[in-house]
C-alpha cells in the first residue's frame, strides 16, 4: 500500500482522531500523521517536502481552515498537494469558496463515513506519489 504523510488540522482532538481512524479504515494508503490544532499551528508544522496531503477543518480559533488553505496555495510550489476540507459548514456558498477561490481539492461535510472518504479522495490519493518508492534516474534523485 502507498505510504503517505497527512497533516490533519482540527481544534478538536476527537475529530482529529476520527479523521485518522477513518483514513486507516478506508485503506486508501498507509498514513503517517502530523496533527495541528488550528491554521497557525498547521503553518508552523507544514513542510511541503514532508507532507503529501492535508485535511483541514474550517472553523478554528486563531486561524481558520480557509485562511490556512489560501496561505498554502499562495505559494505556487504547494499547488500539487491535495487539501481536503473536512467541515461542518454545509452551505453551497462555503463549498464554492473553498473549492473555487481558496483552492481546496475536495470538500467533505461532517459527519462523514469511511465510504465518503473513499469516494471523495480515492482519486486524489492515487495521484499522489508514493513516499515509499525511491526516485530513479539522475534527475529524479537530484530533485528529491
Amino acid at each position: 500500500m502507498k505510504k503517505l504523510t497527512a497533516l490533519v488540522i482540527d481544534d478538536s482532538r476527537i475529530m482529529r482522531t476520527m479523521v485518522m481512524n477513518s483514513l486507516g479504515k478506508a485503506e486508501l494508503a498507509e498514513f503517517e500523521f502530523i496533527e495541528a490544532e488550528d491554521g497557525l499551528d498547521a503553518l508552523e508544522k507544514f513542510d511541503p517536502k514532508a507532507v503529501d496531503i492535508i485535511f483541514a477543518d474550517w472553523n478554528m480559533p486563531r486561524m481558520n481552515g480557509i485562511d490556512f488553505v489560501r496561505k498554502v496555495r499562495a505559494n505556487k510550489k504547494n499547488l500539487h498537494i491535495p487539501i481536503i476540507m473536512v467541515t461542518s459548514e454545509q452551505t453551497v456558498g462555503k463549498m464554492n469558496e473553498a473549492l473555487g477561490r481558496a483552492g481546496a481539492s475536495a470538500y467533505i461535510c461532517k459527519p462523514f463515513t469511511v465510504q465518503d472518504l473513499q469516494r471523495k479522495i480515492g482519486k486524489l490519493i492515487n495521484e499522489v506519489p508514493d513516499r515509499s518508492v525511491k526516485p530513479t534516474g539522475f534527475f529524479n534523485r537530484l530533485m528529491s
Binding site: I14, N59, E89, Q90, T91, V92, K110
Partner: protein
C-alpha cells in the same frame, strides 16, 4: 425571560433548527430522534451544554443540552469509543455535535433564503447549571427523545456565549 409562542410554523428559523437537529442526529444514531415539543427550561440535571452563535440578518444562539447519560451514549456513537463525562474529550464531542448541527442549520437557513455565519462553540458542564439570560431575551427550548435518551436544543435571540463564561466564573 419571556418565552416565544411555541408556534414553529410562524418562525421558519425554528423549523430549520428542529429539522437540522433531527437529520443530524439521525446520521449519528441511525434513526431520527422524536421531537417532543417546546419545554420549560430544565437546568437541574447533570448535563453538558454547548453554545454556538449564528450571526447574519439576526444574531441568535443555539444551546444543545445533553443530560449526562445521553451525552455518554452519544459520545460513544460519535467517536466510536467510550468518553468519560468529566473529561475534556466530552467537551470536544459536545462542541463538535453543536458544530455539525449548526452547519446543518445554516444550510437549512440558506435554502430558506436566510444568511447566517457560524461562530465557534463554547461548552459548559456540571450539575444544577444556571444559565442566566438577559432580561427580555426570547428563548425557545425544543425537546427531543432518542433511543439514547432525551436532549434539547434551545434557540435564543442574541449572542448567549457570555452565559457560559458567566457560569464558569
Amino acid at each position: 425571560m419571556s418565552v416565544m409562542e411555541p408556534i414553529l410554523e410562524e418562525h421558519p428559523q425554528l423549523i430549520c433548527v428542529r429539522d437540522a437537529v433531527m437529520s443530524t442526529f439521525a446520521m449519528f444514531l441511525g434513526a431520527a430522534p422524536a421531537y417532543t415539543g417546546i419545554l420549560q427550561a430544565d437546568e437541574s440535571r447533570e448535563q453538558i451544554v454547548s453554545i454556538l452563535s449564528l450571526v447574519g440578518e439576526r444574531t441568535w444562539s443555539l444551546m444543545l443540552h445533553l443530560p449526562r447519560a445521553t451525552a455518554e451514549a452519544l459520545a460513544l456513537k460519535f467517536a466510536g469509543f467510550e468518553i468519560p463525562f468529566d473529561s475534556a474529550d466530552m467537551g470536544d464531542v459536545a462542541g463538535e455535535l453543536m458544530n455539525v448541527v449548526a452547519g446543518s442549520v445554516t444550510a437549512h437557513l440558506e435554502a430558506a433564503g436566510i444568511k447566517a455565519e457560524m461562530g465557534l462553540p463554547t461548552v459548559v458542564s456540571g450539575s444544577d447549571l444556571r444559565l442566566p439570560l438577559p432580561e427580555g431575551l426570547n428563548r425557545v427550548q425544543m425537546g427531543f427523545h432518542s433511543d439514547d435518551g432525551p436532549f434539547s436544543m434551545a434557540v435564543t435571540e442574541g449572542d448567549a456565549r457570555h452565559v457560559a463564561r458567566r457560569s464558569e466564573s
